[in-house]
């Protein structure tokens, strides 16, 4: 049951709850013992490709059965629960829409399937929200990828659901459309709805206020406010590869610095672990000059999102 709590915000019967949810296929564990609660507002599910985000989204959508654990949406299990779909709006990555229909026809058809009292009006409203009114009467087959995404969002909103789940919603959108979609999600989250979206792009997730759940290798790696996650990510030790005219002499000098926690001599050069990369990068020039060593190359070794993620997973 939903209602208002006086401030005009919606009050729902519950968000999304995962308790020790796992999903495997034979020997491959796609999701491993994930426990998390997703409440009102916008939550981002962040992780590299193949981390299990889509698997989690599909399970929440009732389109995949958890192998183990409990998964509740608005207080009920979503698997084999068709009636629950009237409370959930889904924008999945994998689905395609009927290209022969116009945007209006498609959203109206979905509205009718939801047994809405005035499907045409609901469709128009939803199409207006995603700013597709001008193109709505054209066939979906003529839409760009970003437009198709937006019409899918319209179809997911048409029945005014309290929970909205989107799998990689910004795929195929240009920066302006992305911003507009983010503003839309923000507004809906501020309404008190439970919004969950997945992405592998940190910047997309960061921009939307709220909580971030980080999934790496099927596990929940980190969970919290996006600022806390950012802090975690920047406070990790950074690894650099340094090539110089005398690696060993440089190594000896570097290890005495407080900013450095480890130095390894490798054929590629020196691998330096720096706890405080700001201080390290400032000191490096001076240290090498004092040693009479010429610096040839300084590269960060682990700027990829993967390494950031794996740092968060390793205890």
């Amino acid at each position: 049951m939903t209602g208002s709590d006086g401030t005009g915000r919606r009050v729902g019967s519950g968000g999304i709850e995962l308790r020790q949810v796992s999903r495997w296929y034979g020997n491959v564990v796609a999701v491993n013992d994930v426990t998390m609660t997703i409440g009102p507002g916008v939550t981002g599910l962040l992780g590299p490709n193949g981390a299990g985000k889509s698997t989690i989204v599909h399970m929440i959508a009732g389109m995949l059965e958890p192998s183990r654990g409990e998964l509740l949406v608005a207080g009920e299990p979503s698997w084999h629960n068709t009636a629950l779909l009237s409370k959930i709006g889904l924008v999945l990555d994998k689905d395609t829409v009927y290209t022969f229909l116009s945007g209006t026809d498609f959203v109206t058809a979905i509205a009718k399937l939801h047994k809405l009292p005035d499907p045409g009006a609901a469709a128009r409203r939803a199409i207006g929200i995603v700013e597709m009114t001008d193109a709505a009467d054209r066939r979906i087959g003529t839409y760009s990828k970003g437009m198709v995404q937006r019409i899918k969002v319209a179809a997911a909103l048409v029945h005014d659901p309290e929970i909205i789940v989107l799998d990689e919603p910004f795929n195929g959108m240009d920066p302006r459309q992305r911003l507009s979609m983010m503003e839309l999600l923000d507004r809906m989250g501020a309404d008190g709805r439970v919004i969950l979206f997945s992405s592998h792009i940190l910047e997309e997730v960061e921009r939307l206020s709220g909580t971030i759940q980080v999934i790496v290798g099927g596990r929940l790696a980190a969970s919290g406010d996006f600022r806390a996650i950012r802090r975690l990510m920047t406070s990790r030790p950074h690894v650099f590869v340094v090539r110089s005219s005398d690696d060993r002499a440089l190594a000896k000098a570097l290890i005495t610095s407080q900013a450095v926690t480890g130095v390894e001599v490798t054929p590629r050069g020196l691998q330096v672990r720096a706890a405080d990369y700001g201080t390290f990068t400032r000191e490096l020039a001076g240290v090498s000059r004092d040693q009479g060593v010429r610096l040839r190359e300084l590269l960060p070794a682990d700027e990829s999102l993967e390494s950031v993620f794996s740092y968060l997973v390793t205890p």
Binding site: A51, E65, L85, S86, L92, D95, T96, V97, F100, L113
Partner: protein
């Protein structure tokens, strides 16, 4: 009634099925049947060719193959390209989805294959002849039962057309006419039994009585659709890791 067959899904399915390139193939077999029938009418010397040709070629080849293409298209093609997810994301009952798509498939198959069979029969022995009318009735029954089976196949496997072809060739084509007990489980025989009850034509090689044919047809259709609905309830999407 709208709980069993959903008009929105029906319209969408008809448009989607007729819009796919496969739709052109639906028409080929019936056109061949009508064409060959007209040809044989002109040149054939033996008087038994109508039941032989229309019964064997029509019921064993044209009707089942047309039903296969249409029956696997209404739901199977949408499962393949994931367009069915738009439907499954709404609270519509999965049994309604299965039933509605089955009805769409049956209607389209009847229009192409059953009417084609009747027209071929009408050319051969006259529009009001017992054979032509019998063939029409039998073909309609075949369209119904075959489509139920092929809709079920679409939900159960991604290789519905291959499995369907195998079934038609081995089960219906070969065993059905050879082994006695198998006849009870042969859709061909249901169709021929119904056709024969009107046409009374021994050359049709029908072995079942009307009662048996109808009863078994209803049972097979009901079971197939029930299983299909049950499997659609467990429709699963995999994630990207797999």
């Amino acid at each position: 009634m709208s709980d069993l067959v959903n008009p929105v899904v029906l319209r969408l399915t008809m448009r989607a099925t007729m819009g796919r390139k496969r739709a052109l193939i639906f028409a080929i077999a019936p056109i061949i049947m009508i064409g060959v029938s007209a040809l044989l009418k002109l040149v054939a010397k033996s008087p038994v060719w109508p039941p032989e040709f229309l019964g064997v070629f029509g019921f064993t080849v044209v009707v089942p193959l047309t039903a296969l293409i249409i029956g696997t298209s209404v739901l199977g093609a949408e499962i393949d390209d994931n367009s069915v997810i738009s439907l499954l994301a709404t609270p519509i009952r999965r049994s309604t989805v299965v039933l509605t798509k089955f009805v769409a498939a049956a209607i389209i198959t009847v229009i192409f294959a059953a009417v084609g069979e009747y027209l071929a029969g009408a050319i051969a022995t006259g529009p009001g002849s017992k054979l032509a009318l019998g063939l029409l009735a039998g073909a309609v029954a075949a369209c119904i039962v075959y489509n139920a089976l092929f809709v079920l196949l679409s939900v159960v496997t991604t290789r519905a057309i291959a499995v369907g072809l195998l079934y038609l060739l081995v089960w219906e084509g070969l065993l059905g006419s050879l082994v006695g007990g198998v006849r009870l489980l042969s859709v061909d025989q249901y169709a021929l039994g119904i056709a024969n009850s009107i046409a009374h034509e021994s050359q049709l090689h029908a072995h079942l009585t009307l009662g048996t044919a109808v009863a078994m047809g209803v049972v097979v259709t009901g079971l197939a659709l029930a299983f299909a609905a049950a499997r659609l309830r467990s429709f699963s999407l995999k994630g990207d890791a797999v």
